[in-house]
Amino acid sequence: MAEAKYISNDKLTAWLDELAGKMRVIAPTRQGDAVVFAPYASGQSVELTQEATSPPKSVVFPASEDLLRYDYRKNPENLGQVDVELLPTITPEPTLVFGSRPCGVRGFLIFDRVYDGAIYKDPYYLARREATLFATITCGHAENACFCHSVGSGPGDATGSDLLLTPIGDGFVVESVSDKGSQCLESSLLEAAGGKADEAKAFREKAHQEMGEPQDFGPAQKKLLELFDDMGFWEDVSAKCISCGACTYLCPTCYCFNITDENAGLTGRRVRSWDNCMSFQFTLEASGHNPRPTKAHRLKNRVGHKFSYYPDLHEGIIACCGCGRCIKSCPVSVDIREIVTKAMAHQPPAVEEAAK
Protein backbone atom coordinates (compact mmCIF):
# COMPACT_ATOMS: atom_id res chain seq x y z
CA MET A 1 0.00 0.00 0.00
CA ALA A 2 2.69 2.39 1.24
CA GLU A 3 2.03 5.67 -0.44
CA ALA A 4 4.87 8.14 0.21
CA LYS A 5 4.61 11.92 0.52
CA TYR A 6 6.84 14.62 1.90
CA ILE A 7 6.15 17.52 4.23
CA SER A 8 8.61 20.26 5.01
CA ASN A 9 8.99 21.43 8.59
CA ASP A 10 7.57 24.88 7.83
CA LYS A 11 4.28 23.34 6.73
CA LEU A 12 3.97 20.88 9.63
CA THR A 13 1.90 23.18 11.84
CA ALA A 14 -0.51 23.93 9.02
CA TRP A 15 -0.92 20.19 8.35
CA LEU A 16 -1.54 19.51 12.04
CA ASP A 17 -4.11 22.32 12.12
CA GLU A 18 -5.81 20.76 9.11
CA LEU A 19 -5.88 17.34 10.79
CA ALA A 20 -7.06 18.86 14.07
CA GLY A 21 -10.02 20.24 12.16
CA LYS A 22 -11.12 16.68 11.46
CA MET A 23 -10.32 14.91 14.72
CA ARG A 24 -8.74 15.29 18.12
CA VAL A 25 -4.95 15.41 17.79
CA ILE A 26 -2.70 14.29 20.63
CA ALA A 27 0.94 15.23 20.33
CA PRO A 28 4.09 15.26 22.47
CA THR A 29 4.31 18.52 24.36
CA ARG A 30 7.10 19.82 26.53
CA GLN A 31 6.21 20.30 30.21
CA GLY A 32 9.39 21.36 32.03
CA ASP A 33 11.86 18.47 31.79
CA ALA A 34 9.20 16.03 30.73
CA VAL A 35 7.57 15.44 27.36
CA VAL A 36 4.00 14.21 27.60
CA PHE A 37 1.21 13.47 25.14
CA ALA A 38 -1.40 16.21 25.36
CA PRO A 39 -4.25 17.55 23.20
CA TYR A 40 -2.84 19.67 20.41
CA ALA A 41 -4.04 23.26 20.18
CA SER A 42 -3.84 25.11 16.91
CA GLY A 43 -0.44 26.62 16.22
CA GLN A 44 1.18 25.02 19.25
CA SER A 45 4.73 23.64 18.99
CA VAL A 46 5.16 19.90 19.27
CA GLU A 47 8.25 18.18 20.69
CA LEU A 48 9.40 15.68 18.10
CA THR A 49 13.09 15.35 18.91
CA GLN A 50 13.03 14.01 22.46
CA GLU A 51 11.32 10.66 23.20
CA ALA A 52 8.25 11.27 25.39
CA THR A 53 8.61 10.54 29.10
CA SER A 54 5.27 8.75 29.22
CA PRO A 55 3.86 6.71 26.35
CA PRO A 56 0.52 7.54 24.65
CA LYS A 57 -1.08 4.64 26.56
CA SER A 58 -3.79 6.79 28.16
CA VAL A 59 -5.22 7.84 24.78
CA VAL A 60 -6.65 4.36 24.26
CA PHE A 61 -6.58 3.16 27.86
CA PRO A 62 -7.24 6.15 30.15
CA ALA A 63 -5.72 6.15 33.61
CA SER A 64 -9.29 6.27 34.85
CA GLU A 65 -12.55 5.88 32.93
CA ASP A 66 -16.21 5.22 33.65
CA LEU A 67 -17.47 1.75 32.84
CA LEU A 68 -21.00 2.67 33.74
CA ARG A 69 -23.20 5.06 35.64
CA TYR A 70 -25.81 3.81 38.02
CA ASP A 71 -28.92 5.54 39.22
CA TYR A 72 -31.07 4.44 42.15
CA ARG A 73 -34.71 5.47 41.66
CA LYS A 74 -37.72 5.09 43.87
CA ASN A 75 -40.53 3.33 42.09
CA PRO A 76 -43.35 5.94 41.96
CA GLU A 77 -46.02 3.19 42.14
CA ASN A 78 -44.43 1.56 45.15
CA LEU A 79 -42.27 3.85 47.24
CA GLY A 80 -40.76 0.96 49.15
CA GLN A 81 -39.22 -0.34 45.93
CA VAL A 82 -35.94 1.15 44.74
CA ASP A 83 -34.91 0.35 41.20
CA VAL A 84 -31.47 0.77 39.78
CA GLU A 85 -30.69 1.75 36.24
CA LEU A 86 -27.34 1.14 34.58
CA LEU A 87 -25.89 3.16 31.77
CA PRO A 88 -22.69 1.92 30.16
CA THR A 89 -20.54 4.86 29.10
CA ILE A 90 -18.57 4.14 25.95
CA THR A 91 -17.61 7.41 24.30
CA PRO A 92 -14.76 7.06 21.81
CA GLU A 93 -13.62 10.17 20.01
CA PRO A 94 -11.81 10.03 16.66
CA THR A 95 -8.20 10.74 17.62
CA LEU A 96 -4.83 11.02 15.95
CA VAL A 97 -1.76 10.32 18.04
CA PHE A 98 0.91 12.32 16.27
CA GLY A 99 4.60 11.78 16.87
CA SER A 100 4.82 8.77 19.13
CA ARG A 101 7.67 6.32 18.56
CA PRO A 102 7.23 2.76 17.34
CA CYS A 103 7.25 1.49 20.95
CA GLY A 104 4.31 3.75 21.78
CA VAL A 105 1.92 1.92 19.48
CA ARG A 106 3.53 -1.49 19.90
CA GLY A 107 2.23 -1.54 23.46
CA PHE A 108 -1.29 -1.77 22.08
CA LEU A 109 -0.42 -4.86 20.06
CA ILE A 110 0.27 -6.49 23.43
CA PHE A 111 -3.06 -5.20 24.79
CA ASP A 112 -5.00 -6.35 21.71
CA ARG A 113 -4.40 -10.04 22.34
CA VAL A 114 -5.91 -9.71 25.82
CA TYR A 115 -8.60 -7.05 25.32
CA ASP A 116 -9.80 -8.55 22.04
CA GLY A 117 -9.90 -12.10 23.38
CA ALA A 118 -11.50 -15.13 21.78
CA ILE A 119 -14.41 -15.17 24.24
CA TYR A 120 -14.44 -11.86 26.08
CA LYS A 121 -13.91 -8.53 24.40
CA ASP A 122 -13.41 -5.22 26.13
CA PRO A 123 -15.79 -2.88 24.28
CA TYR A 124 -14.43 0.25 25.97
CA TYR A 125 -10.88 -0.43 24.88
CA LEU A 126 -11.86 -1.67 21.43
CA ALA A 127 -14.01 1.37 20.66
CA ARG A 128 -11.15 3.73 21.49
CA ARG A 129 -8.58 1.60 19.71
CA GLU A 130 -10.73 1.61 16.58
CA ALA A 131 -11.15 5.38 16.74
CA THR A 132 -7.44 6.11 17.20
CA LEU A 133 -4.86 6.63 14.45
CA PHE A 134 -1.12 6.61 14.98
CA ALA A 135 1.30 8.76 13.05
CA THR A 136 4.59 7.36 14.29
CA ILE A 137 8.05 8.86 13.94
CA THR A 138 11.13 6.76 13.16
CA CYS A 139 13.71 7.02 15.94
CA GLY A 140 16.99 8.31 14.55
CA HIS A 141 18.88 7.81 17.75
CA ALA A 142 18.35 5.13 20.39
CA GLU A 143 18.83 6.12 24.01
CA ASN A 144 20.89 3.81 26.19
CA ALA A 145 17.84 2.37 27.93
CA CYS A 146 16.23 1.43 24.60
CA PHE A 147 16.14 -2.22 23.52
CA CYS A 148 13.18 -2.40 21.15
CA HIS A 149 15.28 -4.36 18.63
CA SER A 150 15.64 -7.18 21.21
CA VAL A 151 11.89 -7.70 21.59
CA GLY A 152 11.00 -7.94 17.91
CA SER A 153 10.56 -4.25 17.16
CA GLY A 154 12.94 -1.56 15.97
CA PRO A 155 13.41 2.20 15.54
CA GLY A 156 11.59 2.19 12.18
CA ASP A 157 8.95 -0.41 13.02
CA ALA A 158 5.58 0.65 11.61
CA THR A 159 3.59 -2.35 12.89
CA GLY A 160 0.32 -1.11 14.33
CA SER A 161 0.78 2.43 13.02
CA ASP A 162 -1.28 4.16 10.34
CA LEU A 163 1.41 6.54 9.16
CA LEU A 164 5.18 6.42 9.47
CA LEU A 165 7.16 9.67 9.43
CA THR A 166 10.91 9.61 8.81
CA PRO A 167 13.00 12.79 9.23
CA ILE A 168 14.77 13.59 5.96
CA GLY A 169 16.30 16.95 5.13
CA ASP A 170 14.15 19.81 6.47
CA GLY A 171 11.02 17.73 6.86
CA PHE A 172 9.54 14.27 6.96
CA VAL A 173 8.83 11.53 4.48
CA VAL A 174 5.29 10.51 5.37
CA GLU A 175 4.28 6.97 4.41
CA SER A 176 0.86 5.42 4.83
CA VAL A 177 0.75 2.05 6.52
CA SER A 178 -3.04 1.57 6.66
CA ASP A 179 -6.07 2.74 4.71
CA LYS A 180 -7.00 5.03 7.57
CA GLY A 181 -3.51 6.50 7.33
CA SER A 182 -3.79 7.17 3.59
CA GLN A 183 -6.74 9.45 4.23
CA CYS A 184 -4.47 11.77 6.24
CA LEU A 185 -2.25 12.14 3.19
CA GLU A 186 -4.99 13.87 1.21
CA SER A 187 -3.67 17.37 1.79
CA SER A 188 -2.28 19.95 -0.59
CA LEU A 189 0.40 20.71 2.01
CA LEU A 190 2.10 17.41 1.24
CA GLU A 191 4.22 16.99 -1.87
CA ALA A 192 5.39 13.89 -3.74
CA ALA A 193 8.24 12.16 -1.94
CA GLY A 194 10.13 11.10 -5.06
CA GLY A 195 13.62 9.81 -4.26
CA LYS A 196 13.25 10.84 -0.61
CA ALA A 197 11.32 7.63 0.05
CA ASP A 198 14.51 5.67 -0.62
CA GLU A 199 16.44 7.99 1.66
CA ALA A 200 13.87 7.31 4.38
CA LYS A 201 14.32 3.56 3.97
CA ALA A 202 18.10 3.95 4.24
CA PHE A 203 17.66 6.16 7.34
CA ARG A 204 15.60 3.45 9.06
CA GLU A 205 18.04 0.69 8.20
CA LYS A 206 20.94 2.74 9.54
CA ALA A 207 19.04 3.52 12.77
CA HIS A 208 18.37 -0.19 13.25
CA GLN A 209 22.01 -1.13 12.68
CA GLU A 210 23.22 1.50 15.13
CA MET A 211 21.37 -0.25 17.93
CA GLY A 212 23.91 -3.06 17.67
CA GLU A 213 23.33 -6.76 18.16
CA PRO A 214 19.91 -7.56 19.62
CA GLN A 215 19.80 -9.68 22.73
CA ASP A 216 17.95 -13.00 22.60
CA PHE A 217 15.39 -13.06 25.41
CA GLY A 218 13.77 -16.25 24.11
CA PRO A 219 15.31 -18.56 26.72
CA ALA A 220 13.82 -16.39 29.50
CA GLN A 221 10.41 -17.98 28.97
CA LYS A 222 11.49 -21.30 30.50
CA LYS A 223 14.23 -19.97 32.70
CA LEU A 224 12.02 -17.59 34.68
CA LEU A 225 9.69 -20.46 35.56
CA GLU A 226 12.61 -22.60 36.65
CA LEU A 227 13.60 -19.76 38.97
CA PHE A 228 10.09 -19.39 40.40
CA ASP A 229 10.88 -20.91 43.77
CA ASP A 230 14.37 -19.46 44.05
CA MET A 231 13.38 -16.62 46.34
CA GLY A 232 17.06 -15.83 47.00
CA PHE A 233 17.38 -14.78 43.36
CA TRP A 234 14.23 -12.63 43.49
CA GLU A 235 15.16 -11.01 46.79
CA ASP A 236 18.53 -10.15 45.34
CA VAL A 237 17.20 -8.50 42.15
CA SER A 238 14.41 -6.65 43.98
CA ALA A 239 16.50 -5.49 46.94
CA LYS A 240 16.59 -1.86 45.77
CA CYS A 241 12.92 -1.63 44.70
CA ILE A 242 10.74 0.68 46.79
CA SER A 243 7.41 -0.55 45.33
CA CYS A 244 6.60 2.89 43.94
CA GLY A 245 4.92 1.52 40.80
CA ALA A 246 6.44 4.10 38.40
CA CYS A 247 7.64 1.23 36.20
CA THR A 248 4.14 -0.07 35.58
CA TYR A 249 2.33 3.25 35.22
CA LEU A 250 4.82 4.41 32.56
CA CYS A 251 4.90 1.07 30.75
CA PRO A 252 3.18 0.96 27.33
CA THR A 253 2.44 -2.75 27.77
CA CYS A 254 1.18 -2.86 31.37
CA TYR A 255 -2.57 -3.34 31.17
CA CYS A 256 -3.80 -4.40 34.63
CA PHE A 257 -6.66 -2.49 36.19
CA ASN A 258 -8.88 -2.09 39.20
CA ILE A 259 -12.63 -1.47 39.31
CA THR A 260 -14.13 0.69 42.03
CA ASP A 261 -17.41 2.49 42.65
CA GLU A 262 -17.64 6.22 43.23
CA ASN A 263 -20.82 7.02 45.02
CA ALA A 264 -22.60 10.37 44.99
CA GLY A 265 -25.89 10.00 46.80
CA LEU A 266 -28.34 8.04 44.68
CA THR A 267 -26.15 8.03 41.61
CA GLY A 268 -22.57 7.23 40.94
CA ARG A 269 -20.03 5.71 38.64
CA ARG A 270 -18.23 2.41 38.32
CA VAL A 271 -14.69 3.38 37.43
CA ARG A 272 -11.85 1.42 35.91
CA SER A 273 -8.38 2.68 36.75
CA TRP A 274 -4.81 1.54 36.15
CA ASP A 275 -3.53 -0.80 38.77
CA ASN A 276 -0.07 -1.94 39.62
CA CYS A 277 1.13 -5.45 40.43
CA MET A 278 4.06 -3.98 42.37
CA SER A 279 1.71 -2.95 45.19
CA PHE A 280 0.92 -5.14 48.20
CA GLN A 281 -2.86 -4.60 47.82
CA PHE A 282 -2.96 -5.99 44.28
CA THR A 283 -3.45 -9.59 45.37
CA LEU A 284 -4.42 -9.10 49.02
CA GLU A 285 -7.44 -11.27 49.83
CA ALA A 286 -10.26 -10.52 52.26
CA SER A 287 -8.98 -13.21 54.64
CA GLY A 288 -5.72 -11.28 54.98
CA HIS A 289 -3.83 -13.91 52.98
CA ASN A 290 -1.59 -12.50 50.28
CA PRO A 291 -0.08 -14.87 47.71
CA ARG A 292 2.52 -12.21 46.83
CA PRO A 293 3.49 -10.86 50.23
CA THR A 294 6.90 -9.31 49.44
CA LYS A 295 8.28 -7.04 46.74
CA ALA A 296 10.40 -9.99 45.60
CA HIS A 297 7.22 -11.98 44.84
CA ARG A 298 5.73 -9.01 43.05
CA LEU A 299 8.74 -8.16 40.90
CA LYS A 300 8.89 -11.84 39.98
CA ASN A 301 5.36 -11.56 38.67
CA ARG A 302 6.04 -8.38 36.69
CA VAL A 303 9.12 -9.78 34.98
CA GLY A 304 7.58 -13.25 34.66
CA HIS A 305 4.41 -11.89 33.09
CA LYS A 306 6.28 -9.93 30.42
CA PHE A 307 9.00 -12.41 29.53
CA SER A 308 7.50 -15.79 30.35
CA TYR A 309 3.74 -16.13 30.99
CA TYR A 310 2.54 -13.82 28.23
CA PRO A 311 4.91 -15.30 25.60
CA ASP A 312 3.75 -18.76 26.68
CA LEU A 313 0.12 -17.82 25.98
CA HIS A 314 0.77 -15.69 22.88
CA GLU A 315 3.07 -17.42 20.41
CA GLY A 316 6.31 -16.35 22.03
CA ILE A 317 5.54 -12.64 21.87
CA ILE A 318 7.25 -10.76 24.67
CA ALA A 319 4.97 -8.34 26.56
CA CYS A 320 7.58 -5.59 26.57
CA CYS A 321 8.24 -3.17 23.73
CA GLY A 322 11.75 -2.35 24.87
CA CYS A 323 11.03 1.35 25.39
CA GLY A 324 13.19 1.51 28.51
CA ARG A 325 10.81 3.83 30.38
CA CYS A 326 10.78 1.59 33.45
CA ILE A 327 14.57 1.80 33.50
CA LYS A 328 14.78 5.57 32.96
CA SER A 329 12.08 6.38 35.49
CA CYS A 330 12.91 3.97 38.28
CA PRO A 331 14.10 6.07 41.24
CA VAL A 332 16.52 3.34 42.32
CA SER A 333 17.67 2.14 38.87
CA VAL A 334 16.14 -1.30 38.73
CA ASP A 335 16.88 -2.51 35.19
CA ILE A 336 14.53 -5.13 33.75
CA ARG A 337 17.10 -6.11 31.08
CA GLU A 338 19.64 -6.91 33.77
CA ILE A 339 17.12 -9.06 35.66
CA VAL A 340 16.16 -11.08 32.60
CA THR A 341 19.80 -11.44 31.54
CA LYS A 342 20.78 -12.55 35.02
CA ALA A 343 17.91 -15.03 35.10
CA MET A 344 18.93 -16.52 31.76
CA ALA A 345 22.52 -16.92 32.96
CA HIS A 346 21.53 -18.30 36.35
CA GLN A 347 22.67 -21.81 37.22
CA PRO A 348 20.63 -23.63 39.85
CA PRO A 349 22.75 -24.05 43.02
CA ALA A 350 22.42 -27.85 42.84
CA VAL A 351 24.22 -27.87 39.49
CA GLU A 352 27.00 -25.67 40.88
CA GLU A 353 27.43 -28.07 43.79
CA ALA A 354 27.71 -31.00 41.43
CA ALA A 355 30.31 -29.17 39.34
CA LYS A 356 32.62 -28.69 42.33
Binding site: L68, D83, L86, P123, D261
Partner: protein, 285 residues
Protein backbone atom coordinates in the same frame (compact mmCIF):
# COMPACT_ATOMS: atom_id res chain seq x y z
CA UNK B 1 -16.72 -26.90 29.68
CA UNK B 2 -17.25 -23.19 30.20
CA UNK B 3 -20.43 -21.39 29.28
CA UNK B 4 -21.45 -20.76 25.73
CA UNK B 5 -20.62 -17.08 25.17
CA UNK B 6 -23.41 -16.70 22.61
CA UNK B 7 -25.93 -17.27 25.35
CA UNK B 8 -24.22 -14.93 27.74
CA UNK B 9 -24.94 -11.21 27.63
CA UNK B 10 -21.40 -10.88 28.99
CA UNK B 11 -20.03 -11.51 25.51
CA UNK B 12 -21.13 -8.02 24.42
CA UNK B 13 -19.94 -6.12 27.48
CA UNK B 14 -18.37 -8.33 30.14
CA UNK B 15 -18.38 -5.51 32.71
CA UNK B 16 -22.07 -4.73 32.51
CA UNK B 17 -24.04 -6.46 35.27
CA UNK B 18 -27.62 -7.58 34.84
CA UNK B 19 -30.05 -6.31 37.40
CA UNK B 20 -31.37 -9.07 39.58
CA UNK B 21 -33.84 -9.04 42.45
CA UNK B 22 -33.37 -10.66 45.81
CA UNK B 23 -36.41 -12.89 46.28
CA UNK B 24 -35.40 -14.54 49.53
CA UNK B 25 -32.65 -14.34 52.13
CA UNK B 26 -31.64 -16.95 54.66
CA UNK B 27 -29.47 -16.18 57.68
CA UNK B 28 -27.37 -19.34 57.65
CA UNK B 29 -25.01 -18.59 60.53
CA UNK B 30 -23.91 -15.48 62.39
CA UNK B 31 -21.68 -14.51 59.45
CA UNK B 32 -23.11 -16.34 56.43
CA UNK B 33 -26.22 -15.17 54.63
CA UNK B 34 -27.79 -16.76 51.57
CA UNK B 35 -29.38 -14.77 48.76
CA UNK B 36 -31.80 -16.17 46.25
CA UNK B 37 -31.77 -13.96 43.20
CA UNK B 38 -33.84 -13.88 40.03
CA UNK B 39 -32.75 -12.17 36.84
CA UNK B 40 -34.95 -9.90 34.70
CA UNK B 41 -37.74 -12.16 33.49
CA UNK B 42 -38.96 -15.73 33.68
CA UNK B 43 -37.68 -16.22 30.16
CA UNK B 44 -34.26 -14.87 31.08
CA UNK B 45 -34.07 -17.29 34.00
CA UNK B 46 -34.89 -20.18 31.69
CA UNK B 47 -32.28 -19.04 29.14
CA UNK B 48 -29.61 -18.52 31.74
CA UNK B 49 -27.13 -21.35 31.23
CA UNK B 50 -24.44 -22.28 33.68
CA UNK B 51 -22.62 -25.34 34.95
CA UNK B 52 -22.07 -26.53 38.50
CA UNK B 53 -18.99 -24.79 39.90
CA UNK B 54 -19.30 -21.55 37.94
CA UNK B 55 -19.27 -18.27 39.82
CA UNK B 56 -20.76 -14.81 39.53
CA UNK B 57 -19.82 -11.30 40.52
CA UNK B 58 -22.41 -9.68 42.76
CA UNK B 59 -22.62 -5.88 42.83
CA UNK B 60 -23.93 -3.45 45.33
CA UNK B 61 -23.72 -0.26 43.28
CA UNK B 62 -21.78 2.36 45.18
CA UNK B 63 -19.77 -0.21 47.13
CA UNK B 64 -18.42 -2.67 44.58
CA UNK B 65 -18.35 -6.23 43.35
CA UNK B 66 -17.22 -9.55 44.77
CA UNK B 67 -17.04 -13.13 43.54
CA UNK B 68 -19.34 -15.91 44.79
CA UNK B 69 -20.16 -19.42 43.71
CA UNK B 70 -23.61 -19.98 42.24
CA UNK B 71 -24.53 -22.65 44.75
CA UNK B 72 -27.88 -23.69 43.34
CA UNK B 73 -27.58 -26.33 40.64
CA UNK B 74 -28.62 -25.67 37.01
CA UNK B 75 -31.19 -28.43 37.43
CA UNK B 76 -33.20 -26.07 39.70
CA UNK B 77 -33.68 -22.80 37.95
CA UNK B 78 -36.32 -20.88 39.92
CA UNK B 79 -33.53 -18.68 41.33
CA UNK B 80 -29.76 -18.37 41.60
CA UNK B 81 -28.45 -18.93 45.08
CA UNK B 82 -25.35 -17.27 46.55
CA UNK B 83 -24.12 -17.76 50.11
CA UNK B 84 -22.00 -14.92 51.37
CA UNK B 85 -19.64 -14.93 54.33
CA UNK B 86 -19.11 -11.50 55.81
CA UNK B 87 -15.47 -10.59 55.17
CA UNK B 88 -15.15 -6.93 54.24
CA UNK B 89 -16.89 -4.02 52.58
CA UNK B 90 -18.93 -5.61 49.82
CA UNK B 91 -19.93 -8.66 51.83
CA UNK B 92 -21.01 -6.51 54.79
CA UNK B 93 -23.19 -4.39 52.51
CA UNK B 94 -24.62 -7.53 50.90
CA UNK B 95 -25.66 -8.76 54.34
CA UNK B 96 -27.87 -5.69 54.76
CA UNK B 97 -29.94 -6.53 51.65
CA UNK B 98 -33.36 -8.01 51.97
CA UNK B 99 -36.22 -9.28 49.85
CA UNK B 100 -37.05 -6.99 46.93
CA UNK B 101 -33.67 -5.28 46.81
CA UNK B 102 -31.91 -4.97 43.49
CA UNK B 103 -28.51 -6.46 42.97
CA UNK B 104 -26.01 -6.53 40.10
CA UNK B 105 -25.08 -9.93 38.70
CA UNK B 106 -22.32 -10.78 36.25
CA UNK B 107 -22.56 -14.48 35.63
CA UNK B 108 -21.73 -17.15 34.76
CA UNK B 109 -17.95 -16.84 35.02
CA UNK B 110 -15.16 -19.39 35.23
CA UNK B 111 -15.00 -23.10 34.56
CA UNK B 112 -17.05 -25.92 36.09
CA UNK B 113 -16.67 -29.21 37.89
CA UNK B 114 -15.86 -32.03 35.42
CA UNK B 115 -19.16 -33.75 36.19
CA UNK B 116 -19.17 -35.59 32.86
CA UNK B 117 -15.93 -37.41 33.53
CA UNK B 118 -17.11 -38.13 37.09
CA UNK B 119 -20.02 -40.23 35.79
CA UNK B 120 -20.08 -43.80 37.03
CA UNK B 121 -17.69 -43.00 39.86
CA UNK B 122 -18.06 -42.94 43.63
CA UNK B 123 -17.97 -39.38 44.92
CA UNK B 124 -16.79 -38.17 48.30
CA UNK B 125 -17.50 -34.52 49.11
CA UNK B 126 -15.42 -32.95 51.87
CA UNK B 127 -16.49 -29.42 52.79
CA UNK B 128 -15.34 -27.09 55.55
CA UNK B 129 -17.28 -23.95 56.57
CA UNK B 130 -18.27 -21.71 53.64
CA UNK B 131 -16.37 -24.20 51.44
CA UNK B 132 -19.61 -26.18 51.50
CA UNK B 133 -21.12 -23.64 49.05
CA UNK B 134 -19.46 -24.85 45.82
CA UNK B 135 -19.91 -28.47 46.92
CA UNK B 136 -23.64 -27.94 47.41
CA UNK B 137 -24.08 -27.09 43.73
CA UNK B 138 -22.42 -30.28 42.55
CA UNK B 139 -24.03 -32.42 45.23
CA UNK B 140 -27.55 -31.29 44.33
CA UNK B 141 -26.76 -31.60 40.64
CA UNK B 142 -25.64 -35.20 41.16
CA UNK B 143 -28.65 -36.02 43.33
CA UNK B 144 -30.83 -34.67 40.50
CA UNK B 145 -28.98 -36.98 38.10
CA UNK B 146 -28.59 -39.72 40.68
CA UNK B 147 -28.32 -42.73 38.38
CA UNK B 148 -25.25 -41.27 36.64
CA UNK B 149 -23.10 -41.59 39.74
CA UNK B 150 -21.97 -44.33 42.10
CA UNK B 151 -21.90 -44.05 45.85
CA UNK B 152 -22.23 -40.45 47.08
CA UNK B 153 -20.82 -39.50 50.46
CA UNK B 154 -20.61 -36.11 52.12
CA UNK B 155 -18.39 -35.08 54.99
CA UNK B 156 -19.25 -31.59 56.15
CA UNK B 157 -17.49 -29.92 59.03
CA UNK B 158 -17.84 -26.60 60.82
CA UNK B 159 -16.49 -25.08 63.99
CA UNK B 160 -19.72 -25.50 65.95
CA UNK B 161 -23.35 -26.49 65.23
CA UNK B 162 -24.15 -22.78 64.90
CA UNK B 163 -21.56 -22.46 62.12
CA UNK B 164 -23.23 -25.04 59.90
CA UNK B 165 -24.74 -23.46 56.80
CA UNK B 166 -27.64 -25.09 54.96
CA UNK B 167 -28.92 -26.50 58.29
CA UNK B 168 -32.46 -26.69 56.84
CA UNK B 169 -31.20 -29.18 54.26
CA UNK B 170 -29.11 -31.33 56.51
CA UNK B 171 -31.98 -33.50 57.87
CA UNK B 172 -32.92 -34.47 54.33
CA UNK B 173 -29.33 -35.26 53.42
CA UNK B 174 -28.96 -37.34 56.61
CA UNK B 175 -32.13 -39.30 55.90
CA UNK B 176 -31.65 -39.97 52.22
CA UNK B 177 -30.97 -43.57 51.31
CA UNK B 178 -29.05 -42.66 48.17
CA UNK B 179 -26.26 -40.80 49.95
CA UNK B 180 -24.32 -40.97 53.16
CA UNK B 181 -23.89 -37.80 55.20
CA UNK B 182 -21.44 -37.30 58.03
CA UNK B 183 -21.40 -34.05 59.99
CA UNK B 184 -18.65 -33.02 62.33
CA UNK B 185 -17.79 -30.12 64.58
CA UNK B 186 -14.45 -29.18 66.11
CA UNK B 187 -15.40 -29.47 69.79
CA UNK B 188 -18.17 -31.17 71.84
CA UNK B 189 -21.42 -29.18 71.99
CA UNK B 190 -24.62 -29.78 73.88
CA UNK B 191 -27.25 -31.72 71.96
CA UNK B 192 -24.86 -32.58 69.11
CA UNK B 193 -25.52 -36.11 67.91
CA UNK B 194 -22.96 -36.31 65.15
CA UNK B 195 -19.20 -36.57 64.96
CA UNK B 196 -16.77 -34.42 66.87
CA UNK B 197 -13.31 -33.95 65.43
CA UNK B 198 -11.35 -32.32 62.68
CA UNK B 199 -12.35 -33.13 59.12
CA UNK B 200 -9.14 -34.98 58.13
CA UNK B 201 -9.44 -37.34 61.13
CA UNK B 202 -13.11 -38.05 60.51
CA UNK B 203 -12.26 -38.66 56.87
CA UNK B 204 -9.67 -41.26 57.86
CA UNK B 205 -12.35 -43.00 59.97
CA UNK B 206 -14.78 -42.98 57.06
CA UNK B 207 -12.02 -44.46 54.90
CA UNK B 208 -13.59 -44.00 51.45
CA UNK B 209 -12.09 -46.38 48.91
CA UNK B 210 -10.11 -44.68 46.16
CA UNK B 211 -10.96 -47.26 43.50
CA UNK B 212 -13.20 -45.61 40.88
CA UNK B 213 -13.69 -42.63 43.18
CA UNK B 214 -13.27 -38.86 43.06
CA UNK B 215 -12.87 -36.61 46.08
CA UNK B 216 -14.13 -33.03 45.86
CA UNK B 217 -12.94 -30.78 48.63
CA UNK B 218 -13.25 -27.12 49.51
CA UNK B 219 -12.60 -25.17 52.68
CA UNK B 220 -10.05 -23.03 54.49
CA UNK B 221 -6.42 -23.54 53.36
CA UNK B 222 -5.37 -25.30 56.58
CA UNK B 223 -8.21 -27.81 56.30
CA UNK B 224 -7.38 -28.45 52.64
CA UNK B 225 -3.75 -29.07 53.51
CA UNK B 226 -4.50 -31.82 56.04
CA UNK B 227 -7.42 -33.22 54.04
CA UNK B 228 -5.07 -33.68 51.13
CA UNK B 229 -2.64 -35.61 53.33
CA UNK B 230 -5.48 -37.81 54.58
CA UNK B 231 -6.69 -38.51 51.04
CA UNK B 232 -3.15 -39.47 50.02
CA UNK B 233 -2.97 -41.82 52.97
CA UNK B 234 -6.21 -43.42 51.80
CA UNK B 235 -4.66 -43.96 48.38
CA UNK B 236 -6.27 -41.15 46.37
CA UNK B 237 -4.13 -39.96 43.45
CA UNK B 238 -3.75 -36.27 42.54
CA UNK B 239 -6.01 -36.69 39.51
CA UNK B 240 -8.77 -38.06 41.77
CA UNK B 241 -8.88 -34.94 43.94
CA UNK B 242 -10.69 -31.80 42.86
CA UNK B 243 -10.86 -28.44 44.58
CA UNK B 244 -11.69 -24.80 43.88
CA UNK B 245 -9.23 -21.92 44.24
CA UNK B 246 -9.81 -18.44 45.52
CA UNK B 247 -7.92 -15.40 44.30
CA UNK B 248 -8.72 -11.77 44.56
CA UNK B 249 -10.63 -10.98 41.39
CA UNK B 250 -11.89 -7.91 39.59
CA UNK B 251 -12.84 -8.40 35.96
CA UNK B 252 -13.62 -12.10 36.18
CA UNK B 253 -12.94 -12.49 32.45
CA UNK B 254 -9.15 -12.81 32.15
CA UNK B 255 -8.39 -9.20 31.30
CA UNK B 256 -7.55 -7.22 34.44
CA UNK B 257 -4.47 -9.33 35.13
CA UNK B 258 -5.13 -9.80 38.83
CA UNK B 259 -5.74 -13.46 39.44
CA UNK B 260 -2.93 -15.23 37.59
CA UNK B 261 -0.77 -18.04 38.87
CA UNK B 262 1.91 -18.09 36.19
CA UNK B 263 0.07 -18.56 32.90
CA UNK B 264 -3.26 -19.59 34.44
CA UNK B 265 -6.01 -17.14 35.32
CA UNK B 266 -8.17 -18.42 38.14
CA UNK B 267 -11.16 -16.44 36.79
CA UNK B 268 -11.24 -18.23 33.42
CA UNK B 269 -9.08 -21.35 33.81
CA UNK B 270 -10.55 -21.94 37.27
CA UNK B 271 -11.83 -21.82 39.94
CA UNK B 272 -12.04 -25.63 39.63
CA UNK B 273 -8.74 -27.49 39.43
CA UNK B 274 -7.61 -31.04 40.09
CA UNK B 275 -4.60 -31.56 42.31
CA UNK B 276 -2.81 -32.89 39.29
CA UNK B 277 -3.36 -29.53 37.57
CA UNK B 278 -2.35 -27.60 40.69
CA UNK B 279 0.92 -29.47 40.85
CA UNK B 280 1.75 -28.16 37.37
CA UNK B 281 1.21 -24.55 38.47
CA UNK B 282 3.95 -22.40 39.97
CA UNK B 283 3.83 -22.38 43.73
CA UNK B 284 1.85 -19.18 44.37
CA UNK B 285 -1.33 -20.12 46.18
Amino acid sequence: MTENPKQSPLAANPYLPEIGTVVETIQETHNIKTFRVVLGSEERMQNFHYEPGQVGQLSVFGIGESTFVINSPPTRKEYLQFSVMRAGEVTTKLHSLSKGDRIGVRAPLGNAFPYESMKGKDIIFIGGGIGMAPLRTLLLFMLDNRKDYGKIRLLYGARSPQDMAFSYELPDWLERKDMETVLTIDREAEGWEHKVGLIPNVLLDMAPKPRKAVAVTCGPPIMIKFTLQALKKLGFKDNQIITTLEKRMKCGVGICGRCNIGTKYVCVDGPVFSYEQLRELPNEL
